[in-house]
Amino acid sequence: MNSTLYSLIGLAAGVAFILALKGLSHPKTARRGNLIGAFGATVATLSVFLYVTPTHSEEVGHSLPLNNFWWIIGAILIGLVVGVPAARKVEMTQMPQLVALFNGVGGGAAALVAIVEYLNLGAEATTAEVIFTVFTVVVGCVSFSGSIITFMKLQELMTTRPVVFPGGRFVIAGTLAAVLGTSVWVVAALGTTPLLVLAVLSLLFGVLFVLPVGGADVPIVISLLNAFTGLTVAASGYVLSSTLLIIAGTLVGASGTILTRLMAEAMGRSLFGTLFGAFTAKPQEASGSAEERPVRSGSADDVAILLNYARRVVIVPGFGLAVAQAQHTVRELADLMISKGIDVAYGIHPVAGRMPGHMNVLLAEANVPYDQLAEMDEVNPTFGQTDVAIVIGANDVVNPAAQTTPGCPIYGMPILEVNHASNIIFLKRSMRPGFAGIENELLYDPKTMLLFGDAKASLTKVVSALKAL
C-alpha cells in the first residue's frame, strides 16, 4: 500500500470517529455511532499491517510484513482474550470501574509507546518531537496511575472519602514541580535514567492527584483523565506522523474536556472544587456521629397503605437499588401502582448511581419504559403535588444539605427536592450515610418513614402487601 492510500484510510477512520461521537450524543443514534467508531478503529488497525512507516533513520521503510509480525499478532490476541470477556461479563453496576480501568490501560499504552519512541528517537530528533514524547510519558503515566486509584475507590478497595494528609497540597505541588523539572532534564539530557525517574514521578503524581477527590466526584475525574489520555494519543500522533492518531486523540481530548465540564455542571461543582475541594474545605467532623436520634420506621404494610391512597408517586432510585438488584421488583411495584390508577414517575438525578447517566442504563436493563423516566428539571417542580416520594437506596442526591449547608462537601449540587413531597419513604439498609459520607437531615424529618432492609426484599413485601389491599 502506498503512503497516500494509507493516509486516506487514516483520514476515513478519523471521520468515522467524528460520526461516532456525534451519534453517541443522541439516544436514537448512539448505538450506531459506537459501531461506526468500532469499524473505524478496526480499519485503521488493519491498515498499519499493510503499510510500513519509515523510521527516523531511513527514508523508506522495509518491506512487508512488519518486523515482529507474529509477536504483534500474539499481543493483540492476549489483549482480546483479556478485554472482551471483561467487557461482556461486567455487571452494569460496576460499569464506572471498568471504564476507569480501560482508560487507565489506554493511558499506560500511550506512555509505553512514548517511552519506546524516546529510546528510538536518535540524534536527528527535533526538539518538538522530544517535547511531545516527554509530554506523552508524563500525562500517560498520570492517567494510568490516577485511573487505577479511581478504580480502587469505585470498587471500594480503598476508602471512598477524600484522602488528605497534613501538608498534602505541598507534597502535591512539590511532586508536580519535580515532574516539570525532570521533564526539562529529560529534554535537555536525552538519557534513559532521567526518563525512568520522570515516569516514576509521573505515576506518583497521578496517585496524589486523585487521592483527595471524594467518592461522589470520582466520575468527573475519570472523564478528565479520559481527556488527558486523548491528548497523549494526539501527541504520539505528532511524533509518529500519524494524522489518524492526531485527529482521534484531539477529538477525545476536546470532547472529554467538554463532557467533564457538563458533568461538573450537572453536579453543581466547579472542576477546581472537585480536584482541590478537599484541601480548601473546613474539616467536617462527623457531626454528632454516634449520637442516637429518633427516626420513624415503618413496616411494608404501612408503606403499602400510604401508596394505596396516593394519587401521585415519584420513585427516586439510587445506587443501593442497583446493588440489591431490585430494578425488576421496583418496576413490578410501579406497574402495580399504575394499574391502580396512581400516577407514577421515576425521578432520575443526573448523577444517580456512580456516574452521570448510570441510573438510566441500570433501569433500561430492567425494561423500565423510557417515558416514565423523568429528568431532574422535569420532576422537581412536581414534588409539591406529589403524595409520596419513595427513595430507594439513594441518599446524597436528595440531601437538602446541598441547598442549606454551605461548606458541606455536596453544597451547590442540584438535588431532587423530595422534601417538598407530602410523604417521604426511604428504603435503606442501615443509617449509614451515602457515598459522599454526609449525614442526611431528611431522615429525621417527621414526614419521613424509613423501611429498613435489603431493597429487593423490602420492595417484594411492599408489592405483596399492596396487592392484598
Binding site: 512488519l66 518486523n67 499481543a75 500511550a110 472523564s223 470532547s255 442504563v361
Partner: protein, 96 residues
C-alpha cells in the same frame, strides 16, 4: 509532515470535538465517556508502529505490552459501550 498542517489538523479537531458533544443529554454521559474512551484505544496503531520499529528486546517488550493494553482499551471499550447502548433501544410494552 510540516508543522502548519499538523497545527491545522489539531485546531480543527479541537473545534469538532467541542461541537459534537456540546448538546449531549446527561442520560448519555456514561456511554459517551465510554465510547470516547474506546476511541483513544487507537493508540494501538501507534503501538504496532513502534513494535515494527523496535530494535532491542527491551523496546520490543515495551511495545508488546503497549499493544496488549491498547487492545484491551479499544476492543473492551467498544464492546462495553455497545452493551450499555443495547439497553437503550426503544421498547414497546415491558417484558423480560
Amino acid at each position: 509532515m510540516d508543522a502548519i498542517a499538523i497545527i491545522s489538523i489539531f485546531v480543527l479537531a479541537v473545534f469538532v470535538g467541542f461541537e459534537v458533544v456540546s448538546k449531549v443529554s446527561s442520560t448519555l454521559h456514561t456511554p459517551l465517556m465510554s465510547g470516547a474512551n474506546a476511541i483513544h484505544g487507537v493508540i494501538l496503531v501507534g503501538a504496532i508502529i513502534v513494535a515494527d520499529h523496535s530494535e532491542t528486546n527491551l523496546e520490543l517488550g515495551l511495545s508488546l505490552a503497549a499493544i496488549v493494553l491498547a487492545t484491551i482499551n479499544m476492543v473492551g471499550g467498544f464492546v462495553v459501550t455497545d452493551r450499555m447502548l443495547e439497553m437503550f433501544k426503544p421498547k414497546k410494552k415491558g417484558g423480560e
